[in-house]
Assembly symmetry: C2
Homo-oligomer: 345 residues x 2
């Protein structure tokens, strides 16, 4: 059997490879948030660790570039487990003949995103391969973070003991409200519009940004059980992961999901479900119901969270992710198998 | 200006890119072993962090594969700064059409190397790019380690206060003996022999292995000031780095450098200086002179260290790395500018 694009798409096909090829062999039960929990980051001895390789195409896109993306993506994965990002590594593989000026621009983007996120790039690796060995440049950023100083206080507001004392998927429970921190779909549409031959124009720019302030606000308000950034596979993917891991269904209302008109029309033009495309500056939170309005209000006063919304709730009486559509019908939001938009991160 | 193969070769051209493009922009002075020290790993809040992307070609070579290499290489970078490796991340970028069976074999190699090294692979990322987006597979492993429990005892044996309380290059001082833990050049020659069209056969296999036991032995014996694994750029590269960072020269004796006959003849056939090709299971140590014989004896009784040798010493009366040749002459061992053997790691 050969690897197909769907196996790297963040959906069901990818999970099957990861479980079958890697989890079956790698060690289990190591750390506070071990590998097999398949969260955005692992936690070992109080240190959160995460890694991501970025293959976005084009490397410069409306609203950002691969450097900014690599820093924000990894910073956000640390934040989503309840860590405060401290240090990043930068592993680059560059194609022979790549312009030094572009490399410089990418490094500058990384440096400024790191400053914005309050992290330090402390170590790196730089490899060059011959032409065709890689498509321009691949950036891997791995990150290390410490327990967020606001995490314990946040859990006090939860009103129940979390199953895992980090913002792990396993904490999602019946009744939790689902909050998204802003407009969905911007990143995927912006990257696509930057791609040659796709043939549409849009004013949408990527939402790529570090979520430090958004998460700080949410944790200070308190009652957050779990957090995830909807990257590959989009909102559809993470809601399905939460449903599977919590043993509950999730009910969402289409009319409450913040999506820009331009994103909707681009998705319509491309024949893509906006719920399945990736974001790089949004958090999705599962929040104890009695805290949800407070978290929402706090987010709306925070830069990057102005358009936050409660889009639904976790319900143990449902088996799937169900969406009440704008016209009053209901449909099951399926987990993406492949990826409608490859190489957006 | 365009990036050339030499810019990723671990030598002078690479250092100029790193200093000019990255160090100039990334934050300085962060952590106990900060980025600008350009050691094998950084240390932040007592946690050692390192990253490496592996692009070795072919991905299966005599004595190992890219999976084993990715685990050992990163484990060794942690060991070389004086850390005990704890956890690794695994970031893979795979080309569409890659055989699932090969991926499985690589994952198995990673798992068994991790077990050998006593580390856990705790987090990962899996991306697939279209054909031609990458040459088969690239593996990034980043690693996290804790201060080695034998490091403080080791420094007590040093007889002086180390400049940096880790095994950093900056600790190398006049009079230190240079020890290599075994045969030099095996990995580079083995990988080359596995490459199509190179046209030579050899029985040499890669030395790729985790250096936990070697370093444990050396630290227990005590008096190690600095350690480095001679990967890209080989022995010539790291001796020159040590010379530059210590402000001293280094004097080595060719006849004392352990090199296999087969490696020498392969290098002769290929027109390559064996001192400039990479190793993946060797440590080079700078050891206080009064401890050097003890460290050597201990290493020789340790699996992986049987062929260890003292090859020379640090000398402030010299300005360069100077080698006394087998026939009694002297030559300057220059720092490699490019790489005689690209993509060996």
């Amino acid at each position: 059997m050969k690897i197909g694009m769907r196996h790297g798409a963040g959906g069901e096909a990818m999970e099957s490879v990861i479980k079958d090829v890697f989890l079956a062999k790698f060690s289990r039960n190591f750390g506070e948030v071990p590998l097999e929990m398949l969260d955005d980051a692992a936690v070992v001895n109080g240190v959160a660790i995460t890694t991501d390789s970025y293959t976005v195409k084009p490397i410069f896109f409306p609203g950002g570039d691969i450097g900014r993306l690599a820093v924000c993506g990894t910073v956000n994965d640390l934040l989503m487990i309840g860590a405060k990002p401290v240090a990043l590594s930068n592993g680059m593989v560059v194609e022979e003949g790549f312009e030094m000026e572009k490399l410089r621009t990418i490094a500058e983007s990384m440096a400024s995103a790191a400053q914005e996120a309050g992290v330090h790039i402390v170590t790196g690796d730089f490899k060059v391969v011959e032409r065709g060995g890689v498509d321009e440049v691949i950036v891997n950023t791995s990150g290390m973070g410490r327990r967020h100083p606001l995490l314990d206080g946040n859990f006090e507001g939860l009103g129940r003991k979390p199953r895992v004392p980090w913002l792990a998927d396993a904490n999602v429970s019946d009744g939790d409200k689902i909050i998204v921190s802003g407009y969905i779909g911007d990143h995927g549409v912006a990257v696509l519009s930057g791609r040659e031959g796709v043939g549409f124009e849009t004013t949408v720019v990527s939402d790529v940004m570090p979520l430090n302030r958004v998460m700080e606000t949410a944790l200070r308000a308190g009652g957050v059980a779990a957090a995830k950034d909807p990257t590959r596979g989009g909102l559809a993917e993470i809601l399905n992961e939460w449903a599977a891991k919590s043993g509950c269904g999730i009910y969402i209302r289409e009319s409450d999901i913040p999506i820009r008109e331009e994103v909707l029309s681009a998705c319509e033009f491309l024949g893509i479900d906006p719920l399945t495309i990736g974001n790089e500056g949004k958090a999705v939170l599962a929040v104890a119901p009695h805290r949800a309005e407070d978290v929402l209000e706090a987010l709306r006063r925070t830069p990057g969270g102005e358009n936050a919304a409660i889009i639904g709730e976790v319900r143990k009486d449902l088996e799937f992710v169900v969406m009440e559509t704008g016209v009053g019908g209901k449909r099951i939001v399926e987990r993406p198998i492949g990826d409608p938009v490859p190489r957006i991160c």
